[in-house]
Structure formats: structure tokens, C-alpha cells
């Protein structure tokens, strides 16, 4: 009986190991396929030149540029707000007050909103309300009330707000309370303590959140489809009211709407590879920083 029980047990344990291995396998197959098919086309030209001949030749520099511009605008918007929200929640708010609970509820729910709904929001609010309103107010034709970098970046900022808030709060929580007490006992005020002692120590964790949000911002397509991304533009965006090319959006359109799939295949794979490298690299860095910080804390450094 014992033997059969043990066999049964080993069987189930083995199944869980199998499940883990399946995940590894999925990862290897996907990344492997993309690397294998895409690495041939990666070259200096590919990264620095614009596409030609209906996306069958040339490079994807505009898409890279657009993605970077988008993400920079996004982080300028989301990082201060997210960090300050985390500071408020962790350092100032009384933990069970109605306001605190509401903020947490809002942050949690923002995290679950589908990305296409953000796209709808960007369209319905930023472009058609704020943008159109601004055009009206300034007596312009159509400058702000159309898809552009600004609104796409703000839409992504809202989407990534929970990421920054959660990572920042975790970082603040990790700062031991004795340090705060020591600061207060020396006569420092709350903000002085936060600025001089807590935030510097929480910085790596905050950075992790920022990097993760950048990675997510670079990869999401649905929120920018109708708020500013375009498939082909003969110019690079140089003001926030410009439209922009973007890596993820480029992949989507090329993969689903190319007239000649075989001809665009190399560029398509190359673009996917670039996007993948970008997002995975950012994720690696963020995970690395986070685990280094966690290890440091455990060792009491």
C-alpha cells in the first residue's frame, strides 16, 4: 500500500515538474524561433535606416525612434505621479481610512483594465474631449484633437500607473522602520526623513518599477492603435502633436495586412526580434536590480 501511495505521489510530483518544464519549453521555442528567423536581417543599417519599397527593404529606425519617444514621454508623466502616490499611501496615509482604501481600489482596478479599453479611453477622453477642447479654446483647426504622441503617451502612462505604484510601495516598505525612527528622534520632519533617508534607500525598487513600466509601454499595442501610432510616416515625429511609428504596431500591421507576406517576412521577423530584445533586456535589468536589492536586505547590508 505504501509503495502504491508513493508511486502515486511521485507521479503527481512528476506532473508538477512537467508543468514547469513546459513553461521553459514554451519560452525556448518562442524566443528561439524569433532569434533564428530574425537574426539574419539585423544589421546596423536595419536599425538606423528607414523602410523602403513597401516594407520589403530598408530598416525600421523610425519605429525605434517612435517607440523611444513614446516611452520617454510616458515615463515623464507616470513616474512622478506613481512615486508620489506610493509615498502618500505608505508614509502619510492612515492605513484604514476610506481615502486610502479608495486609492488602493483604484490602483488595483486600473491594473486589470484591458488594454483596448485604455485605447478607447484615449480616443474618447484625450483626443475627443481634451484635445478637441484645446483646439476649440485656442481657435485651432485640428492640432490637439487628433491621434498623436502626447495622447498615446498619456494613455500608456495611465495604463502603467499601477506598475509604478506597486513597485514603489514595495520599495518603501522595504526600508526598515528603525531608520525612520532614528531620523525622527534627531528632529527631522516627515518630509525631511523621506527625502534624505527613505527615498535614497528605496531608489532601486522604484527604478525597477520604472523599468518594468517602460518595458510594458514599449510592448503594448492596443492602447496606441487609435491614439497615435501609424504604419508609415515619411517623417520622424518632432513635436508631441505628431503621429509616430512604433515597433509593436508595426509588427501587427505588417503581419496582418501586408499584401506580400513572404517578401516582408524577413523585415517582420527582424522587427519582432528588435522589439523582443528591447523588452526582454529591460525586464532582465529590472529583475536583476530587484533580486539584488532583495538579497541585500536579507543579508542586512
Amino acid at each position: 500500500m505504501k509503495l502504491r501511495l508513493n508511486f502515486f505521489g511521485s507521479f503527481f510530483t512528476g506532473l508538477t515538474l512537467l508543468a514547469t518544464l513546459i513553461i521553459f519549453a514554451i519560452l525556448i521555442v518562442i524566443i528561439g524561433n524569433i532569434v533564428l528567423q530574425g537574426h539574419k536581417i539585423i544589421s546596423w543599417d536595419f536599425i538606423t535606416k528607414a523602410p523602403r519599397e513597401g516594407m520589403t527593404a530598408g530598416g525600421i529606425f523610425p519605429a525605434i525612434f517612435g517607440t523611444v519617444a513614446l516611452v520617454i514621454l510616458m515615463i515623464i508623466a507616470v513616474l512622478p505621479v506613481g512615486v508620489m502616490t506610493a509615498i502618500y499611501l505608505h508614509e502619510y496615509a492612515k492605513s484604514e481610512s476610506a481615502l486610502t482604501k479608495t486609492i488602493r481600489f483604484a490602483v488595483n482596478n486600473l491594473a486589470g483594465v484591458p488594454s483596448i479599453v485604455f485605447g478607447l479611453f484615449g480616443l474618447g477622453f484625450f483626443i475627443q474631449f481634451v484635445g478637441a477642447g484645446m483646439d476649440n479654446f485656442f481657435g485651432l483647426e485640428v492640432v490637439w484633437g487628433q491621434p498623436c504622441l502626447m495622447w498615446a503617451a498619456l494613455t500608456l502612462a495611465l495604463l502603467n500607473l499601477p506598475v509604478v505604484v506597486v513597485a514603489s510601495e514595495e520599495a518603501l516598505r522595504a526600508v526598515p522602520s528603525e531608520i525612520r525612527e532614528a531620523s525622527f528622534a534627531l528632529g527631522a520632519t516627515k518630509w525631511q526623513t523621506i527625502r534624505r533617508v527613505v527615498l535614497p534607500q528605496a531608489l532601486p525598487g522604484v527604478l525597477t518599477g520604472a523599468i518594468l513600466s517602460i518595458s510594458r509601454g514599449a510592448g503594448e499595442v492596443a492602447p496606441i492603435m487609435f491614439t497615435g501610432a501609424a504604419y508609415f510616416l515619411p517623417y520622424l515625429p518632432h513635436k508631441p502633436t505628431d503621429q509616430f511609428m512604433e515597433l509593436g504596431y508595426h509588427v501587427y500591421v505588417m503581419a496582418t495586412q501586408s499584401p506580400d507576406v513572404e517578401a516582408t517576412k524577413p523585415i517582420l521577423y527582424g522587427t519582432v526580434l528588435v522589439l523582443l530584445i528591447l523588452t526582454l533586456l529591460l525586464n532582465f535589468i529590472a529583475i536583476f536590480i530587484r533580486s539584488k536589492v532583495r538579497r541585500q536586505m536579507r543579508q542586512g547590508v
Binding site: K94, S95, P176, E178, I179, E181, A182, S183, F184, A185, L186, G187, A188, T189, Q192, R196, V197, Q201, V301
Partner: protein, 280 residues
Amino acid sequence: MNAESIMREETEANIEPKTPEISGKKIESVTPKILVEKLDFYYGKTQALKDIYIGIQENQITAFIGPSGCGKSTFLRCLNRMNDLIPGTRSSGKVFLDGIDIYSRGIELSELRRKVGMVFQKSNPFPKSIFENVSYGLRIQGIGDQNILEETVERTLKDAALWDEVKDKLDQSALKLSGGQQQRVCIARALAVEPEVLLMDEPASALDPISTAKIEELIQDLKKNYTIVIVTHNMQQAARISDYTGFFFLGELVEFDQTSKIFTNPRDKRTEDYVTGRFG
């Protein structure tokens, strides 16, 4: 009615306090540096301090002893209102520092804590350099003059008997020092803001005997310029270094007197049982 006149009123009303009777004897008629009247303290629904009356003399070392959980650390933290940081606590009663009730309305807490400094049981240096740790208290007051900072750091590290050991590595992280050295950094850090009162919660409990001896020597030196209040679970330490001792038990201040009296001829049986080791 401006701030000055309000303050003067309060001061005049309190400068001749009715010296409460404790242990059947009046406290010396010199105005105590700190005077506590009818202090009660609650953690939520639990009462941690009951009806405390005490006068702490200037430039003397006052020690509080008692079994764990008796309220002595809680009492210490009432003296610089560090308990305010813990949610769900409340207190009633008055604590007069130089004649002003620190629990009255409008007290600027950061000023109070500069006057009444604290050294914690477990040393808590900032993860910064030794220099930055010790000069922290000055920087937050807006003092940025490098000369003042350097002079203060040197002076207080010397007072804390640590200067010779660290003078060549002031830029090193304070966390790299040994436990005893870290505690002395914390003491230097507290001294740098030039408090008038220094509260020390079990200042040497986490240290080895040699470091403990150094710290005890240091405390006795500091008495010249500071009023010192110590909490310790080590009776012998209290007997060694303090001038006055108070015995806490179950949230009450059972007895408070000159140290020699407490240890040789206590009035209360509970005190006697504790100092003779019958419990605790």
C-alpha cells in the same frame, strides 16, 4: 494674545510646580528638568502606564529598571513623544520640559526632539557614511557650512570615544562598523544636535562587556553637560552608573529615589523583591 504672552503665562503658571510626593519624600526643591504629572498611556485599550508622577533632575543620570513589559521603555518614549509615531496610542497627563508641557497644543515636535535626543536599543545608523550619519542632525536644520559640520563631527565622535578608531575612515559606510562602534556612532549622532536631555533605551544591551564598559564610562562623562535618562534591564548597570533610580512594575512607577537608597534600603516590598532577584 500672541505666542510670546501665551508662553509666558504657561511658564509662570508652571514654574513653581507643586512637588508631588513620591516614596513619602518631596522631590528636591530644585526645579526638575523634566516633570511628569499624572501620566497615563494606552496602547489601544491596554493601559501601559498608570498615574506616573516623577521629577528628573538636570545633569544627573536617572535610570529606570523593572521586568520586561513593565512600561519603562514606553515611558521613555513619552518623554520625546516618539510614541506619537505608533498608531492607536493615546495618553493623558502632562510632561513639563523646562516648565512647558510638551503635550500641549502647538508643540513643534521636531524642535522637541532636538532638545530631547534618543539613543535606541538596537543601533540604527543610516546606510550612509559615518560623517553623514553624525552630521545628519545639523544638515536637517539647514546648517551646510562644511567647517561647522567637520568640527561637530570630530567633537562628538571624541565625546563618544570613537574618534581615534574612525578618524581615517569617516567616508566609509557606518554599517561596516562593529555593533559597539555603530552604537557609539548613534550616540555621537545624537550628541551632534546638542540636546539638553539624552534618553537611552538599553544602550548597551546588544553589546559585549568591553563595549558596555566603554559606553557606561561615556554616559558618566556626559552627565556634566546633559541630563541623562536610561532604561535598563540590567540592575547592576543601574546601580553602577545612575544617581537616581525608578522601579517600574506593571505600568506603575512603584518607587523612585536616590540609587543608593533603592538598592540598599527600598521602601516598597515589590522593589525589594526585584532588586534582590526574587523575580524578574
